[in-house]
């Protein structure tokens, strides 16, 4: 799978009079990228820039050469997003219908949707959840369904916003394994430092800037030192 390059050029994001990210310039090419930092540092805003949920106040974000401020729809097909709380991401009352929701939005026929949903559920070994009502799922199951809904869209990049925060140890390990096996690029915003061990690159966000950019072990050391100050 050829992965699209993600470029941020002098990106600043402000909400009303508060600047959340300041002058960020980055090129993301790696397959596994982690983003860590304190609460309110700007991690979630950074993640939302990547699939056009947030548009920069100044500067540009390009995914595979497409500008997020002009081609949001195309970019969202290529960059999936798994939210911190899967309960709010699951939109339809039934699991299979929820996974089909995004596919319907991109114009797949009913039969194509059916095949794609079954394939995705099989891929993640959650075929047994297909006919369950969404509100009856456990937290771990909800997170797997949210991931399935994103994978079904066949994006080349998936952004995870603190995906393991609401999971117990067993589900966290399962989810971690699933992320490791994904052929897609995974950009994981997390407080869970263990998950980053095998990553290619980790960014540390502090007060709206990239305070460190490098290998996981070095990034985690940097973050730990900063946290002790």
């Amino acid at each position: 799978m050829e992965l699209p390059e993600i470029q941020l050029e002098q990106v600043t994001v402000s909400f009303e009079d508060r600047t959340v990210l300041t002058d960020i310039t980055l090129t993301l090419n790696e397959r596994r990228i982690g983003v860590i930092g304190a609460n309110g540092a700007g991690k979630s805003t950074l993640s939302r820039l990547l699939n056009a949920l947030v548009i920069p106040t100044s500067g540009t974000v390009r995914v595979g050469g497409l500008d997020t401020s002009k081609s949001a729809k195309q970019i969202r097909r290529d960059v999936g997003f798994v939210f911190q709380n899967p309960a709010n991401q699951i939109i339809m009352p039934l699991v299979a219908d929820d996974i089909a929701f995004g596919l319907k939005n991109i114009g797949l026929s009913k039969s194509e949707r059916k095949v794609r949903v079954a394939q995705t559920l099989d891929e993640l070994n959650i075929g047994h959840l297909a006919d369950r009502e969404s509100h009856t799922l456990s937290g771990g199951e909800q997170q797997m369904v949210a991931l399935a809904a994103v994978i079904a869209m066949q994006p080349r990049t998936i952004v995870f916003d603190e995906p393991t925060t609401m999971l117990d140890l067993r589900n966290r390990l399962r989810f971690q394994r699933e992320i490791a096996q994904l052929p897609q690029r995974a950009i994981v915003i997390t407080h869970d430092l263990e998950i980053l061990e095998d990553f290619d690159r980790v960014l540390v966000v502090t007060d709206g800037i990239i305070a460190f950019d490098g290998q996981p072990a070095d990034a985690v050391d940097h973050y730990r030192q900063w946290s002790h100050v």
């Binding site: 997003f81 339809m92 009352p93 039934l94 995004g102």
Partner: protein, 201 residues
């Protein structure tokens, strides 16, 4: 109540056909005044329901509630009119409900929404948008249990703080958390490719 996996002959029929037939049967039932014929039709509706292999466990609570309501209707009608006409009315309602269960439990939610969009498509001429209305319906069904869960959490938290009898102490956090859920869901809709501008055309 949402239809689970059902592969019976009824599930294979188009939703429009099933709901159309249900409408005709419901009107037809009101033309029948004989309790004997209605009893036969009730037995037929139960056969249809059973042959559709619906999940009977899913039906248990709604059926108990329905029978309770019909019991009250039967007694009050019997006192006000005659016991014969009360029996006819109750048999009519029960038969209609059995057919309705057979249809709704063998039709997927997605198929119902599609049918709704087709039926409501003339509303476009008066500025309404069936696609958006059907999304609104599905979101309402999806999030009612979620809001109930949030309500119970808030009530429990306020109970722990000794504020169990203060409606405002429950209502304010409930509204704030509901708005937060709405905001997150709107963001998720956007992230999952839902284009409200496109759906409003």
């Amino acid at each position: 109540m949402i239809a689970g996996l059902n592969t019976s002959y009824l599930a294979k029929l188009p939703a429009g056909l099933k709901f159309g037939a249900l409408l005709i049967v419901s009107i037809g039932l009101y033309l029948i005044g004989s309790w004997q014929i209605l009893s036969v039709l009730l037995i037929l509706s139960v056969i249809v329901l059973l042959s559709a292999r619906v999940n009977l466990r899913q039906l248990r609570m709604p059926l108990v509630t329905l029978l309770l309501i019909l019991g009250i209707v039967f007694v009050s009608l019997g006192i006000q009119t005659t016991w014969d006409s009360a029996l006819v009315s109750v048999l009519r309602l029960l038969t209609m409900c059995m057919f309705a269960y057979a249809v709704s439990l063998t039709t997927t939610f997605d198929a119902m929404l599609e049918l709704f969009q087709q039926v409501a498509s003339p509303l476009r001429h008066v500025g309404a948008n069936p696609a958006q209305i059907s999304l609104g319906l599905s979101l309402a069904i999806r999030f009612i249990p979620e809001l109930k869960r949030v309500y119970l959490e808030v009530r429990e938290a306020q109970h722990a703080r000794g504020l169990a009898n203060n409606p405002l102490a429950v209502a304010v956090p409930l509204v704030i958390r509901s708005l937060r859920i709405a905001e997150d869901t709107a963001e998720a809709l956007e992230a999952r490719g839902y284009d409200s501008a496109e759906h409003s055309n």
